[in-house]
Amino acid sequence: MNHIKVLLFATLRDRAGTKSMEIEIPDSTTVQGLKDQIARDYPNLKQAMETVLISINREYAFDEAVVPQNAEVAMFPPVSGG
């Protein structure tokens, strides 16, 4: 198993009611697999998983990417700075 930290921002944090979660995922889980697991385990975040942006170790990550060991994962909506 892979122990990861998931940071949540903006609407994702509001929906989850927390800024971060520690999650166990199977080795070689992809980003898509991680989203599926969160959608299953956290009903409040299920809908958001369809459009969420994901970063792994501070770089944008996409569905097919494998989540590395001890990754810092973040989940957030499209950015709106400026």
């Binding site: 509001d14 942006l53 501070r58 770089e59 973040a74 957030f76 709106s80 700075g81 400026g82």
Partner: protein
């Protein structure tokens, strides 16, 4: 002066933006021109260009609350600066600064500044590119608070692999 000596400033801050100070930090002996963009919190947003306001009414904003994923935001700001240097190698200094926290109308929230020897070198385009890219890839979000409650401002861009 070699490009490796060109100053690049990128930061997320809770402090007031000081344009004089930021400009001085990216002004070299060879610098003759600076293009600076700043964004401010709008206290009133007219119906035109707004999706939230009701017909014929201006939307009022009490304040915006900004947050950032700070270490990634700073990395992405550096990336924006790198992209600017790749496209406009004549650009000398670059400053990219986002203020976060609770920000009230008429307050500057973000600054992108590019300096160069002359004004006809693309500095205006470089600054414009910088703010466009910041709004696409730098992980910052804002929540608008007004008389009708609060809502997150929605971004529109989905980064592609390699961004």
């Amino acid at each position: 002066m070699q490009p490796s000596n060109f100053p690049t400033i990128f930061s997320i801050t809770e402090s007031e933006l000081d344009l004089n100070d930021l400009l001085a930090k990216i002004t070299l002996p060879s610098t003759g021109a600076a293009a600076i963009f700043t964004g401010m919190v709008r206290g009133e947003t007219s119906r035109r260009g707004s999706t939230q306001a009701k017909r014929g009414e201006a939307r009022e904003t009490a304040f915006l609350e900004y947050e950032a994923y700070v270490p990634m935001a700073e990395a992405k700001m550096k990336q924006v600066a790198d992209e600017i240097r790749e496209r406009w190698p004549v650009v000398e200094g670059i400053a990219i600064v986002q203020r976060i926290g609770k920000l009230y109308p008429q307050t500057p929230t973000v600054l992108i500044a590019c300096t160069a020897a002359h004004r006809d070198t693309g500095v205006f385009d470089a600054a414009r590119y910088g703010i466009d890219r910041l709004k696409e890839i730098v992980p910052i979000w804002k929540k608008e608070v007004g008389p009708n409650g609060e809502f997150w401002v929605e971004g529109e861009y989905t980064p592609k692999p390699g961004e």
